[in-house]
């Protein structure tokens, strides 16, 4: 379980973001991500989850409020500085389509290192190790179109983690996958992030995906509701018992 002591890795305070005339996506959202913490952000579609992720990852800037990363105000950096920071300190994974179709899995995973100036040989070597960790080394020479959705998503995770970022932002990473492929992706992400000490901000509408996180916050109408700590389970029930489900059978 990740700790929450000390300063958070990233903190968002009172974020407001309005898109066009459609109304506010965020209205005073506050959230903190601790170093090494896996935090799920859940909520109905249109609740502002993705917008929150985009603000925290420095992809967009909020209209109002502050995004603090270390000593820096992410929301006050120039576009160029934010891009640079994203390249070195953050990794991003989306629901689909983020791999470059013309490149092999290995070259896709090596790309962030190449952009950061690492030599091609070294970049490929390190990318190879990350493909291995995500169990897709066997697909290294395949192009995205030649892989299953789950494999492509694990290559995308390898690419997000190849620079050993402080935080990975994952927006519905299992949204396009069946439940078994989704489970493999989440298991790989959680194990690898914990091993590397990388914080993960996981946006999902799916409770089973959110359950991989250490903690969950829920967005409703653009504000963050802390999901209350569960009441002491030891007092209310025995948690090792099978849950009581509606009887679908009968004593024979």
């Amino acid at each position: 379980m990740s700790t929450q002591q000390g300063a958070p890795l990233i903190a968002a305070r009172d974020l407001t973001k309005t898109y066009g005339r459609t109304g506010a996506a965020l209205r005073g959202a506050c959230v903190e991500l601790a170093a090494g913490e896996i935090l799920a952000v859940t909520g109905a579609s249109g609740s502002g989850k993705s917008t929150l992720l985009h603000c925290l990852a420095g992809i967009v800037t909020p209209d109002e409020g502050a995004v603090v990363y270390g000593q820096r105000r992410l929301d006050q950096l120039s576009e160029a500085d934010r891009t640079l920071l994203r390249r070195t300190d953050f990794g991003v994974v989306f629901q689909f389509g983020q791999l470059i179709p013309e490149l092999t899995a290995l070259d896709n995973a090596a790309l962030p290192l190449l952009l950061a100036g690492t030599s091609r040989g070294q970049a490929r070597e390190r990318a190879d190790a990350w493909l291995e960790r995500f169990g897709v080394r066997g697909q290294a020479e395949l192009r995205p179109g030649e892989m299953s959705g789950g494999q492509a998503q694990r290559v995308a995770l390898a690419r997000a983690l190849v620079t050993e970022p402080k935080a990975v932002f994952a927006d519905e990473p299992t949204g396009a996958l069946d439940s078994l492929a989704g489970e493999q992706v989440m298991t790989a992400l959680v194990h690898t992030a914990r091993e590397a000490g990388t914080a993960v901000l996981l946006v999902t509408h799916d409770a089973q995906t959110a359950a991989y996180a250490d903690r969950e916050v829920e967005l409703r109408d653009g504000t963050v509701l802390e999901v209350a700590e569960a009441p002491d389970l030891a007092e209310t029930a025995q948690p090792t018992e099978a849950p009581q489900v509606t009887e679908a059978g009968h004593e024979g």
């Binding site: 989440m186 298991t187 959680v190 194990h191 409770a207 089973q208 959110a210 359950a211 991989y212 996180a213 250490d214 969950e216 999901v227 209350a228 700590e229 569960a230 009441p231 389970l233 209310t236 948690p239 090792t240 018992e241 099978a242 849950p243 009581q244 489900v245 509606t246 009887e247 679908a248 059978g249 009968h250 004593e251 024979g252």
Partner: protein, 182 residues
């Protein structure tokens, strides 16, 4: 849940003592309530009474004498029949969460100190905490297949409960309105 068919199924894989059956049951159903010895022996006696199992012999191995049971042909037929028979899909909608919400709405509209919205919020938090717990159990690289299967089963049901609770929380104003002004 039919303990007698589960035990019959375990016996079908080979003759067994009561103690071994309990041990094998608990290993195959790791998240279930462990089977009590007393229940195992009572069930075995009923299986013998009904001709579905029989005593094969006794072993001592230097310790106390233990009776070894095996399934009969009739037991094998009964087991096959049970395995192929579909379970009635939710014949009765009875569940503690569901009952509490209904009663909370009824009593709250009558002025009693009940807060269905607060209850749903707390119950959802408890469900989510349990889901994180089960997911950690399942994601452990050492988890065996029986553990993964039972965690999956519980997770899917908890998820279904959660969806129902979310929907119901959204319906509370309309439900309350309907009860107050039928």
């Amino acid at each position: 849940m039919s303990t007698r068919h589960v035990l019959l199924g375990l016996l079908a894989t080979g003759p067994s003592h009561g103690y071994d059956l309990k041990r094998r049951h608990d290993a195959r159903f790791p998240q279930a309530r462990p089977l009590a010895y007393g229940q195992v022996y009572t069930t075995l006696q009923r299986l013998v009474r009904d001709g579905l199992a029989e005593v094969e012999g006794t072993d001592a191995d230097g310790g106390p004498e233990r009776t070894r049971y095996r399934a009969t042909d009739e037991g094998a037929r009964e087991l096959a029949d049970w395995l192929g028979r579909i379970a009635p899909p939710a014949p009765f909608v009875t569940n503690e969460i569901f009952a509490k919400v209904v009663v909370a709405i009824l009593t709250a509209t009558a002025g009693a100190p009940a807060d269905p919205a607060a209850y749903l919020r707390d119950q959802r938090a408890a469900h989510k905490a349990r889901m994180r717990e089960l997911t950690a159990v399942k994601a452990n690289p050492d988890a065996d297949l029986a553990t993964v299967l039972s965690a999956d089963y519980a997770l899917h049901h908890l998820d279904a409960d959660l969806r129902w609770m979310t929907t119901t929380a959204g319906r509370l104003p309309a439900l309350t309105q309907e009860i107050q002004h039928p």
